[in-house]
């Protein structure tokens, strides 16, 4: 059975978190009795922005979590919660002030931006805006080939096969390879972005509000796609989102952030059905659903 570190509810959100020191026992689905090392471990991550001539801003405050192989962890929060900054630090796009990030058992240097080519095969990311995440002048197929060539030594025909396989995996057709991004819809562009991320065969895929900018019906398609991909390939997801409905559908575990601090963590179904923290409850209450009415804050 899986035991995850659970945040003990504190009296006020502002008081320092009293985290229990239960050891993390993470297991995989196939072998429930064998503890498996988490694929991603974040411990005490902190990021403080100090703009010149301005007050310092703590974006991420002592955040810790772990992700099991093949698992899907949601980082939930509203704007200013620090969820995107956390994800970017894990990806190496942002520098942390303190704390550690351990990927595949190896600690990475969070004090430096950029990690080198090999780390691309560990963590990849799909960004929120489908219209800015692709080079407007590069055709889809050419883009995929470029990435494949950097990481794999494939013959020309193997390259072509791989490109087709990737496109099929994300629900696109062969003919999309010759198109420019501007000929594609938002949903199609996100599929291309997912294909590009999967092209390098990463262990962890970070989805930073990857479906937020999509129409509801298209979002459903992409969410189904993401579930299928994880089931087939065993890649682990780090899902950054503000949308609790999306989080429920695609993730097993979840972490709720408020103003940079972890307020709740646990299995997604547990957290959403039986929230322990007032903020989580407020989040759930605020989501429009059957029978919902908007409410003013007391």
């Amino acid at each position: 059975m899986r035991t995850l570190r659970r945040e003990r509810p504190t009296s006020t959100p502002e008081s320092p978190s009293q985290r229990s020191t239960e050891s993390i026992q993470v297991t995989s689905a196939q072998h429930p009795d064998v503890p498996v090392r988490p694929i991603l471990e974040v411990d005490g991550l902190t990021k403080i922005f100090t703009p010149r001539g301005g007050a310092e801003h703590v974006a991420v405050d002592d955040v810790s979590f772990s992700l099991r192989p093949g698992g899907s962890l949601a980082i939930v929060g509203e704007s200013g919660s620090g969820k995107t900054t956390t994800a970017r630090i894990v990806a190496g796009l942002e520098v942390a002030t303190s704390g550690t990030v351990t990927l595949e058992g190896r600690e990475v240097d969070v004090g430096r931006r950029g990690r080198g080519r090999r780390s691309a095969r560990v963590v990849q990311m799909v960004f929120q805006d489908p219209f800015a995440s692709l080079d407007p002048r590069q055709r889809v197929g050419a883009g995929l080939r470029e990435l494949l060539r950097i990481h794999f030594d494939l013959s020309r025909s193997d390259l072509a096969d791989r490109v087709v396989a990737l496109l099929e995996q994300v629900g696109l057709e062969h003919r999309h390879a010759g198109l420019l991004p501007r000929s594609l819809s938002g949903g199609q562009r996100q599929r291309v972005a997912i294909a590009r991320a999967l092209a390098v065969d990463p262990t962890v895929l970070i989805l930073d509000e990857a479906v937020s900018a999509l129409d509801v019906s298209v979002q459903a398609q992409v969410l189904n796609l993401l579930s299928d991909i994880r089931a087939e390939s065993g890649v682990s997801y780090l899902f950054v989102s503000h949308d609790l409905g999306v989080v429920r559908q695609v993730t097993d575990t979840c972490l709720v952030l408020n103003r940079g601090r972890v307020v709740e963590t646990g299995a997604t179904s547990e957290v959403l059905d039986h929230p322990r923290h007032a903020y989580t409850q407020a989040l759930i209450d605020a989501v429009p659903k059957p029978g919902w009415h908007p409410r003013r804050r007391p």
């Binding site: 080198g116 800015a132 692709l134 590069q138 949903g187 298209v218």
Partner: protein, 283 residues
Amino acid sequence: MAAVTVDVATAAQVRRRADPLLVVSATCCLLLIAVALVGGWLAPYQPDEIDVLAASQGPGPHHWLGTDSLGRDVLSRALAGAALSFAGPLLIVLGSVVLGTVLGVVAAWYGGWLDQMLNRLLNVMFAVPGILVAVIASAVFGAGFWAPVIALTLVYIPYAARIIRSAAVRERQQAYVEGLQLAGVSSLSINTKHVLRNVWPLIVAQATIGLGTALADFAAVSFIGLGVQPPAAEWGVMVAEGRAEILDGAPQQSLVAGLCIVVTVVSFNVLGERLAARFGAAR
């Protein structure tokens, strides 16, 4: 939200919108380039063919644009001189744009103190008037073709560098660049295959404007006698040589050469400006 809706004047519409100024200037430029390439063969006379008996004639049946004080056919000189008038500016533009691009892209990519240093260097270079540098260079290294070309190339670098740097900075901030970095694509590849490819049209536009301006500057240096020397039929030289004849009532050499310069400079400047406008909107 996937944007399938209609916006007011989308980039695609701007691309498709007919631009008469663009068409006209492009046509002129192409014609001028053609003249530069084959002008020598089209000329009815040799450009340095002296015919003292026919000196300082106005336009007539034998000499459509008249002759200068040595009886040389003005039309032939203008046509043949086109190539020489273009040669220097072409080298100036090529050199300054290539070097400016390298500086601009590198500064945009690395940012920080490198970018600031470049900025200061460019500010200094901007402060120096171009023609002055060319004149001094000619005076020091000897008049001719190369001194002004090299000097003007150096002077033009900051204009190209600044514009390309801005475009490169904008491009570098696009989300896809971060995605490429994350995917393990090398900085060099990102800049050459992606950033440059998107900035390229602006570079072309800038080069086109530069060509017009370089031509004017180069002709000016030749005009004051520190560039190409007579009897070469370069337009700037022709304007200078024709000066004395104006007072004699035979302005044709200066006038024709001057018009050639003006038309060329305007055509290229307008073309470059229209291209820049069009590519600026092409996102």
